[in-house]
Symmetry: C2
Subunit: 181 residues, 2 copies
């Protein structure tokens, strides 16, 4: 992807691009900011800590999968371009760090409530699970044709519940089971 390629699809010239963005990475950074807020919003059920934890987790994960269905290519662009640009690199790692933060906080909270084993290192587990989510979701939904959202959700949900809550509950067949609190 070059600036020329991009602007050829518009009725504007290449230099016009630099009127609005300092370069391609700047554009991507703007797009990232736009989707981040949506992301945190849809993940709210589990992050807020209300209701039955596993059901809430599934709701949140469902939301995350949906956002990636809608904006997967943007995340792919960000993650692929990040290594090439210092500024974008920082923006991307700040994004994932904020995600680690909220997940870590939720885990620690549920550890205090006795819902999650205190022997877990909340930070590292959160980080590892988020790494998994990020790359799997980008791989599945980052380019067309996109993967099967239901199957991806089931897979991620199984691993998260197994890792956090012990795994007995969620290891069931790919059968629809959206519990309520």
């Amino acid at each position: 992807m070059t600036v020329a390629d991009l602007m050829a699809r518009t009725r504007l010239s290449r230099p016009a691009f630099y009127q609005y963005f300092s370069d391609l990475h700047d554009l991507i950074e703007v797009l990232l900011r736009e989707v981040e807020s949506i992301m945190h919003q849809t993940a709210n059920p589990w992050l807020s800590g209300e209701g039955e934890p596993i059901a809430a987790l599934r709701e949140s994960q469902k939301g995350v999968v949906q956002v990636c269905l809608d904006h997967g290519p943007i995340f792919r662009a960000v993650s692929e371009a990040a290594p090439l640009d210092e500024r974008l690199e920082r923006a991307w790692s700040a994004f994932t760090k904020r995600w680690d933060d909220v997940v870590e906080a939720r885990i620690k909270s549920q550890q205090r409530d006795g819902l999650i084993s205190k022997s877990l290192n909340a930070r590292r587990i959160a980080n590892a699970l988020n790494h998994m989510d990020t790359t799997l979701l980008i791989a599945e939904f980052g380019r067309r044709p996109q993967g099967d959202p239901k199957a991806v959700l089931d897979t991620l949900h199984h691993i998260w519940t197994a890792a956090l809550y012990g795994g007995q509950r969620a290891a069931r067949m790919p059968r629809k089971s959206p519990r309520k609190s």
Copy 2:
């Protein structure tokens, strides 16, 4: 990283580089091939299916972590450069696919033996766990200073055992327990 940068560190000129490699991506592809064989070798204990599964899994994961300690920067280079080059992209996805294949095979085998729940989708779980390993290991060991191998191993081991074997066994404190069958 440019070809000029690279060759400046040698006593040869820039064009000499093209005598041995068609371009930078070609070089990276060669490096990838060199580490892949080591990787499969060190992961042999669990993949071969001999001995007690969880202990064998930990041995294999320990090996994988060690290889990444030694060659992490190479994996980082591959994964970051892959999106920029069609050929390298294929090499990298072929690498991860082979990894998915052997893990899937092992899971299915242990499902037949009743060690792992048959309700799991072996392929997708293997794929998700491998995605987690890849990015976490690259993030931790892909650049200096590198992360703490013991902590990373514990984290990955917990999630793998929880996801595959139900999580009751491995959710213990970060205490050393590499036992045999």
